[in-house]
């Protein structure tokens, strides 16, 4: 047993980080906010060429043939860079929807509760919903400027993909939580008040320390769930990563003070996306109920196995 990432896994993560730093840095992010074009088709294709969507497809089917542990590492990087678009759904559609694996098709999923679907208008397909183009859909204003939403009469959640969707979304959340921690620490080290960097004040330090604790626990939970594929560990990963992404974004905003409340700072983009992802695939309430059932089942089994 060796829980640490292998050399190859580290290299893969570093490669994706470099690709995204060059291709979707801060200027590109702000340009998509200004233009309102959330899915950049060229970037989507480049991600496809780099194997982002075909990562877990067998080599015989033109994929990279890697597993969930590798997938969470690259999704963590996408979360860090705040890449918009239905990354998880397109990845899950690889091999099933033509063009998804190569990144020439944009595939979304009805992964939110109720009648809202993200990226409906930009998608070429909806996972598990053939003929979606003829389904009536009403655009609504979205809280996240980079996640457009439509209200749709009925679009059932693709059940088969629920655990994998939740895990990959959790990996995006963990990446975002680590990124907002970096933004907060950098700002706290630079911004001066009362003649010294605000990061020298315990009140600010302790916010940052708690952000690290949340992010590290979430990241570990995501990696573990990717390795074991256990549904309860996956639920825990989603629960902890949602919380880490949302609360870290809020604490990052607080560390930025008045600047944090402006459109100009990136932190609101992380917070709004974290809110979207927290509603996708598996909510906190669903995760907690699933975990409770798993806890009770294990506890009862233990007693039955070994009468006390």
């Amino acid at each position: 047993m060796d829980f640490q990432p292998t050399e190859e896994q580290r290299d893969l993560r570093a490669g994706v980080r470099n690709l995204l730093a060059g291709r979707y840095g801060r200027e590109a992010l702000r340009a998509s906010v200004e233009s309102g074009v959330c899915v950049d088709r060229d970037l989507w294709r480049e991600l496809g060429e780099a194997g982002f969507f075909a990562l877990r497809l067998p080599e015989a089917e033109g994929g990279v043939g890697l597993g969930l542990p590798e997938a969470v590492l690259v999704f963590e990087e996408a979360g860090r860079a705040l890449v918009p678009g239905p990354l998880v759904a397109t990845h899950l559609a690889a091999g099933a929807v033509p063009g998804a694996a190569a990144g020439t098709a944009v595939v979304t999923a009805s992964d939110l509760d109720g009648s809202l679907v993200a990226h409906w208008g930009e998608a070429d397909a909806v996972l598990g919903l053939p003929g979606f183009a003829s389904t009536p859909a009403e655009p609504v204003r979205s809280a996240d400027p980079l996640t457009p939403l439509h209200r749709v009469a009925s679009a059932p959640m693709p059940g088969d993909h629920r655990d994998e969707g939740a895990l990959l979304t959790a990996a995006l959340q963990a990446g975002s939580a680590l990124r907002t921690l970096e933004l907060a620490v950098r700002y706290a080290g630079e911004r001066e008040q009362f003649g010294r960097p605000i990061g020298s004040f315990q009140a600010v330090k302790h916010l940052c320390a708690e952000m690290l604790v949340r992010a590290e626990l979430a990241r570990t939970a995501v990696y573990a769930a990717a390795v074991t594929g256990d549904p309860a560990e996956t639920a825990a990963a989603k629960l902890l990563a949602d919380e880490a992404a949302v609360r870290n974004a809020r604490d990052c905003l607080q560390v930025h003070g008045g600047m944090g409340f402006t459109w100009e700072a990136d932190v609101h983009l992380h917070l709004k996306r974290a809110w979207v992802r927290a509603e996708q695939w598996r909510t906190a309430a669903e995760a907690e109920e699933l975990l409770a059932a798993d806890l009770l089942e294990g506890a009862v089994q233990r007693v039955q196995r070994r009468p006390e």
């Binding site: 047993m1 829980f3 960097p197 330090k205 573990a224 990963a237």
Partner: protein, 387 residues
């Protein structure tokens, strides 16, 4: 990233499980919490059984009397002993979890040979003389003085919050060998000594905790003579040695307790199911959340242990991250237990009520959460020192 056990690890687990099933029914009854000599004898008896069966010091180096097995073996050992309801380290915790590993990492060959085997056999019990009145979290502000006299140090001062002092044979003692001055910052001038508790001039006075127990004590040191040969590390270099001790204390000492918490959670779920509290979604979901959190804490442990193994066996600064998350989760666990018990949580004899009270120490002992946050912020995140 691989969590699959190897064939050897599987065999080790099976052998251990079989052994536990055989020896646990033979154990004597547990003494009452305030019967200190009884507790010491009970814990020593268990440690001796582990030693004789080759399970003591599993992950300690062979030349320190250990088995030289990888850290994964140790984690399997903790999982299985907890699952079987075996005794935990008890009165041996400072020797096995703090002082022993420190001596294994920093002591001379003679010191390792003198002190480590008796710890592994359960023959000698250690306590920790770090905290002082007026200098708890500000550990380096300690004032207990040691003056060199020939080949002995003469120690005068006092210590506080010393767990198991009443039954200990040895104390890992921090003393000031050079006074704080304009050229000597308080972190310099500290020395790490092994002090025999039966030396003339050592007085121990028990302190009563809010749980009603005499879990720890005050210790008064009046011209206690400690041989220079009992010094671990160089004179005035004790702060560095202390950091090694603290990294074990924060990095690995609580590991076994995470498994115990997971077991308690299962018991809580069954109790809640039986008494109807399970039907309250607030209680049920709180239990579910803790199940997820403690599962992740166990994975974080596996992560940290693997990382420390790669960097030479001394746990890294990540121990502070673990300790912060763990100590708060543990308190939350017993608050949820109180929700499951309802008014029953007011009855001291109910299961978990004493544990709830003692969990209050977890965010204070071994460095308060506030100190841990400073450490994380300054030493991991690189934020500037300040106030």
């Amino acid at each position: 990233m691989d969590l699959t056990p190897t064939e050897e690890e599987r065999e080790f687990r099976a052998r251990l499980r079989e052994w536990l099933a055989k020896v646990l029914p033979e154990l004597p009854a547990k003494p009452s919490p305030d019967d200190w000599p009884g507790r010491r004898a009970y814990d020593a008896g268990w440690q001796r059984r582990l030693y004789d069966a080759g399970y003591a010091g599993l992950h300690w180096p062979v030349d320190a009397g250990g088995q030289g097995a990888g850290p994964t073996r140790h984690l399997i050992f903790l999982e299985e002993t907890e699952r079987a309801g075996a005794p935990y380290v008890g009165a041996n915790f400072v020797g096995l979890l703090h002082a022993g590993p420190t001596i294994a990492a920093e002591g001379t060959a003679a010191q390792r040979a003198r002190w480590l085997p008796p710890v592994l056999r359960g023959d000698e019990v250690w306590c920790q003389g770090f905290s002082e009145p007026g200098a708890g979290s500000d550990l380096a502000a300690l004032r207990t003085r040691a003056v060199r006299d020939g080949d002995e140090y003469v120690v005068t001062g006092s210590k506080i919050w010393t767990s198991h002092a009443e039954v200990a044979d040895w104390c890992e003692l921090l003393v000031r060998t050079t006074p704080v001055g304009p050229d000597t910052p308080k972190h310099r001038g500290i020395t790490w000594l092994a002090m025999p508790m039966d030396a003339p001039g050592v007085t121990v006075r028990p302190l009563r905790t809010l749980a009603g127990s005499t879990e720890f004590a005050e210790m008064f040191l009046d011209e206690v003579r400690v041989p220079v040969g009992n010094r671990v590390g160089a004179e005035d270099d004790g702060w560095r040695v202390t950091m090694v001790t603290l990294s074990f204390e924060r990095g690995t000492a609580f590991v076994g307790e995470v498994v115990a918490c997971r077991r308690t959670l299962g018991d809580l779920a069954r109790t809640a199911k039986a008494n109807g509290r399970w039907d309250d979604p607030v209680v049920r979901r709180a239990l579910g959340r803790l199940h997820g959190e403690f599962g992740a804490l166990w994975r974080l442990t596996q992560w940290n242990v693997g990382e420390s193994e790669r960097s030479g066996g001394v746990p890294g600064i990540g121990g502070s991250v673990f300790k912060l998350a763990y100590s708060h989760a543990r308190q939350e666990l017993y608050d949820v237990a109180a929700q499951v018990l309802g008014a029953g949580s007011l009855v001291l004899d109910e299961e978990w009520v004493l544990d709830r009270l003692s969990s209050l120490s977890y965010t204070i002992a071994a460095g308060t959460s506030q100190i841990q946050r400073n450490i994380v912020a300054e030493r991991i995140l690189g934020l500037p020192k300040g106030r």
